[in-house]
């Protein structure tokens, strides 16, 4: 499900530090950390370790990380911190994100508002494949969707979760699944575990 015929679906790569002269900010969704992952990140970021800051979001207190470490409790807290980052961002700065898609795109859109260009952001997917779904009918978003068909949190319609993805909204498109024949709803299956 991470690969798709639909090319608006982002592709993610393993994070690797880019040796630019600016500041490097790595934000990791802590509860997605598998064993050995942080060690791999430490290796990947060794080259910029002196200019690296790592934010651990909702991570266990014992988790270690490379660079100067800051601990945050929630993704909302991290968003706010990003939007209020002192002195803003420069063109040599890089933001690296690791976590679920809703987590990464919440932060990427916040960073965009803070002035970071998409070319300065790198992402590596980790953890659940759950999705944020945007309803084409009522324009509300539904969080933590793991099934092919989701009930819209805004209008309660049964939405087919498509692979078409909007970076601006950080969300997948949801379209009413039984608009043509009301009640004709396929079996719900957990496909984005």
């Amino acid at each position: 499900m991470m690969q798709s015929q639909i090319v608006s679906r982002p592709r993610y790569r393993d994070l690797a530090a880019e040796d630019t002269a600016g500041a490097h900010l790595l934000i990791v969704e802590g509860d997605t950390l598998a064993a050995g992952q942080m060690a791999a990140l430490a290796t990947a970021f060794a080259v910029v370790a002196e200019r690296l800051q790592t934010w651990l979001v909702s991570a266990p207190a014992t988790a270690l990380a490379p660079g100067r470490v800051r601990r945050l409790h929630t993704v909302e807290e991290a968003r706010t911190a990003l939007e209020h980052i002192e002195d803003g961002f420069g063109i040599a700065d890089r933001l690296y994100l690791q976590g679920t898609e809703p987590f990464m795109w919440s932060l990427a859109t916040a960073a965009g508002r803070a002035g970071l260009s998409p070319t300065q952001i790198r992402m590596q997917h980790a953890g659940s494949l759950k999705r944020r779904v945007w309803c084409t009918h009522c324009h509300q978003t539904t969080e933590n969707v793991t099934t092919n068909i989701a009930t819209c949190a805004g209008c309660a319609r049964a939405l087919l979760v498509r692979d078409h993805f909007s970076r601006r909204l950080g969300a997948f498109m949801g379209v009413m699944v039984d608009a043509e024949v009301p009640g004709e709803v396929p079996q719900r299956e957990e496909v984005f575990r």
């Binding site: 015929q5 639909i6 090319v7 608006s8 679906r9 070319t119 945007w134 084409t136 009918h137 324009h139 319609r157 498509r162 692979d163 078409h164 993805f165 909007s166 970076r167 601006r168 909204l169 498109m173 379209v175 009413m176 608009a179 043509e180 024949v181 009301p182």
Partner: protein, 358 residues
């Protein structure tokens, strides 16, 4: 072609929209051959073409007044159908100028534009007789218009309009007036790049169609617009087939029978043109939608037969993507008796100059 408007016709409710004989004969039928597949079918948008619908930069027809009214109704229900990102103001004025100049030049009985100068700050007067508008304004000053310039002028034109900003060797969908779309959402797609907003189209990406098209469009030159046709089908002559309103029109797809297909099933053709804009360097992308019932279309014998051949050989992925699957069998059953198997001339023209009387 003389313009006799049909201001009372509707694109919703009782769906009273119909095409006159002249409108049928000028229809931009999209199939030059008996089979259809995606291709980079882009050609210069010159003042000639296989039917009259191609012959003017911005086409106006008998449905003009009714279409502008339908757009106003849609915007009243959902103002988000017109969106312009903040950096697009220069492109908005570019669009207004291009449309006003061309409409006034091609339809002098309907539109006129008087300019005291070409540069920002000049006084302009725009007259739109079919809609009863006389507007004095200062070119470049949005406060002298009742709404922003892009919305102002596209409320007075047929078809949807998108503006693509060009940067980083890509095109970004950064503005749109989209009220007659073939099932795509401006609110979802606004801000996307060329590859992203074409993301859901099947087969064409693998064939490299979008890479080639993008490369071509990045080189588009001022004063040398290009065009292509795209098509799908709609049940009823409905302009607003947006995903937003899909719960309203979706059930119509399940209402098609062999008996009613002729009047209900419509071929929906988009004459898409692309224009480099002078100040902003953006690309204006007008999507002029033409609707025709298959009953009307079949009055041109070549078109009825060819439509049958195209639809009966359509790759299933395309039928699915275009949303035809549910009513395709009934449509084919309605069209089948028209096809006598005769060889059809290549090309999209009707190959007749008059329709047989009904």
């Amino acid at each position: 072609m003389s313009l006799v408007f049909k201001p009372e016709e509707t694109f919703r409710g009782d769906y009273s929209y119909r095409n006159s004989d002249a409108a049928i004969l000028r229809f931009p039928f999209p199939f030059p051959e008996d089979r259809y597949m995606y291709s980079v079918n882009i050609e210069p948008h010159v003042r000639s073409g296989p039917t009259d619908a191609f012959c003017r930069p911005f086409d106006i027809d008998e449905h003009y007044i009714a279409e502008c009214r339908d757009r106003a109704l849609t915007l009243e229900l959902d103002p988000g159908r017109c969106q312009v990102l903040p950096h697009m103001m220069a492109a908005q004025w570019d669009t207004l100028e291009l449309l006003m100049e061309n409409l006034a030049a091609d339809y002098p009985e309907q539109f006129s534009l008087t300019k005291e100068g070409d540069v920002f700050g000049s006084r302009w007067t725009w007259i739109n007789r079919p809609l009863g508008i006389e507007q004095h304004f200062i070119f470049g000053d949005p406060d002298t218009l009742p709404c922003e310039p892009f919305e102002y002028i596209t409320r007075q034109a047929q078809g949807d309009f998108a503006i693509c900003d060009q940067r980083e060797d890509n095109l970004y969908l950064d503005a749109g007036m989209i009220t007659s779309q073939a099932d795509w959402s401006l609110a979802f797609n606004v801000g996307m790049n060329f590859m992203e907003w074409h993301g859901p189209v099947p087969l064409a990406h693998q064939a490299g169609v979008f890479e080639r098209a993008l490369k071509y469009l990045l080189m588009l030159r001022l004063g040398q617009p290009v065009r292509r046709l795209n098509w799908t089908m709609s049940i009823n002559p409905r302009l607003d087939t947006s995903p937003e309103s899909y719960p309203e029109w979706g059930p119509d797809r399940a209402s098609v029978t062999v008996e009613n297909a002729g009047g209900k099933v419509h071929l929906r053709v988009e004459l898409q043109t692309l224009w480099r804009l002078p100040r902003s360097n953006a690309i204006l992308f007008p999507i002029r939608c033409f609707l025709i019932s298959i009953e009307e279309l079949a009055r041109v014998p070549k078109w009825g037969k060819r439509l049958y051949r195209v639809l009966s050989s359509l790759p299933p992925e395309l039928a699915e993507y275009k949303g035809l699957t549910r009513y395709l069998p009934a449509t084919l059953a309605w069209l089948a008796p028209l096809d006598d198997g005769a060889q059809l001339a290549t090309g999209i023209g009707p190959d007749i100059t008059e329709l047989a009387p009904l």
